[in-house]
């Protein structure tokens, strides 16, 4: 309980008064390398002891920080324009569940590694293993969540992190005395399959009249969507489409004004 209390957030600067509790801090996931992941828990507004636990991961890779999910999507607070304080998000998901935001892997946000080379050779595998280690140790620190229904959610490159962490938990549960009560996953605009993601992206660009017929035909004939690393010819076609044909748009929302 001491560890838990040590992580208790009394109040964030410029935060409105709230009824729910918050905790944040570090969980060491690899002692040898000195890797520790940062988390922020915002408990449910009502009956937190009965509500499920949701772990939220963002994408990138390298962008699963509290800037996105926690601060502009599902979290209870939004940061105001001058960054002087916070205001409430009336559609926060902590009306439905306890939200656990995880900055992963080490090197993202406040999560760190004492072995600096870790930032140069991290990938899906280490991220999944470290995230599993995080969940196991975090539940030791917050034992009241040990048997709670657990869901994992996220978007974009977390289309990898989320199912991979779920898979790690299933493998862990097969041998564990106290299995983790994982119930499901939900992913959004998720990186899923290299070939079909690329094919679908170019198709969307054409069907939404963002690129010319000629560029569409060249992309389809020049690029091999099965490859992880596209050829130079293909890369330059992508660059041409984005630089010359898209115009100044926000690719993350093609009908919204861009953030200049």
């Amino acid at each position: 309980e001491e560890e838990e209390e040590a992580d208790r957030i009394v109040e964030l600067p410029g935060q409105p008064t709230v009824s729910f509790r918050q905790f944040s801090g570090y969980v060491t996931v690899n002692r040898v390398a000195g890797r520790a992941l940062f988390y922020w828990l915002t408990e449910a507004t009502q009956n937190p002891f009965r509500k499920p636990l949701l772990i939220w991961l963002n994408g990138g890779p390298g962008c699963s920080s509290v800037a996105y999910g926690a601060s502009e999507e599902i979290g209870p607070f939004r940061i105001n324009k001058t960054a002087s304080g916070l205001y409430l998000n009336k559609f926060s998901w902590n009306t439905v569940a306890n939200l656990l935001f995880l900055e992963a892997p080490a090197g993202v946000g406040f999560s760190y590694s004492n072995r600096s080379s870790d930032l140069l050779d991290t990938g899906d595998r280490r991220t999944a293993k470290d995230s599993l280690e995080f969940v196991i140790r975090w539940l030791e620190r917050f034992p009241r969540y040990k048997n709670r229904e657990l869901y994992i959610s996220g978007e974009s490159y977390a289309g990898h992190y989320v199912p991979q962490l779920a898979q790690q938990i299933i493998m862990y549960n097969a041998k564990a005395k106290h299995p983790i009560n994982l119930k499901g996953i939900m992913v959004g605009n998720a990186v899923t399959d290299n070939y079909y993601d690329n094919l679908g992206t170019v198709t969307y660009w054409w069907s939404h009249a963002m690129i010319s017929d000629q560029t569409y035909r060249q992309l389809m004939s020049t690029c091999d969507f099965h490859r992880q690393k596209e050829s130079d010819e293909c890369e330059s076609l992508y660059s041409y489409a984005m630089d010359q044909e898209f115009g100044n748009i926000d690719q993350y929302n093609i009908y919204a004004p861009p953030c200049n």
Partner: protein, 148 residues
């Protein structure tokens, strides 16, 4: 531009103290995205569809949603990928509703629910917060999205 506010707020010493963050005084500023990690990403699965199959085989609830005005990982990409799973349809395609508006469209397959969020970009809860909250409520309840 809300990401810019985060770059300021989370680098404030008083905020880091309140969050028990940066206790080892990391040698670089906090930032929303790590360029170093992104450029040196070491290994990546070509496809996570095999993991979806494994999760469904273990009885996990699997939901996939898509903001339909995102062009980075667009709805067509997700639909092409999910089509490879060749899942049987349980509840055919229908518009789902939130506050008397079409929140998007959805189809419930054996083992997986797919839903779009109409007019939402890459970060669905940022652009369509009310619809995203309804999506989450239905997911947690394990119920199909509302038909009206």
């Amino acid at each position: 531009c809300t990401e810019k506010y985060a770059e300021i707020y989370y680098n404030r010493p008083d905020v880091q103290k309140a969050l028990h963050a940066n206790t080892t005084t990391i040698s670089y500023k906090w930032t929303a995205c790590s360029e170093v990690l992104n450029r040196n990403w070491n290994d990546t699965d070509v496809s996570v569809l095999p993991i979806y199959r494994e999760l469904m085989a273990h009885g996990m609830r699997v939901w996939v949603f898509s903001g339909d005005v995102d062009s980075v990982v667009p709805v067509t990409a997700t639909r092409y990928s999910l089509a490879q799973l060749k899942l049987a349809t349980k509840i055919p395609w229908y518009p789902w509703y939130v506050k008397n508006q079409v929140g998007g469209w959805t189809e419930v397959y054996e083992g997986l629910t797919f839903a779009t969020v109409r007019g939402a970009g890459h970060e669905v809860p940022l652009f369509k917060p009310r619809a995203a909250l309804q999506l989450f409520k239905s997911f947690i309840a394990g119920k199909p999205l509302p038909k009206s």
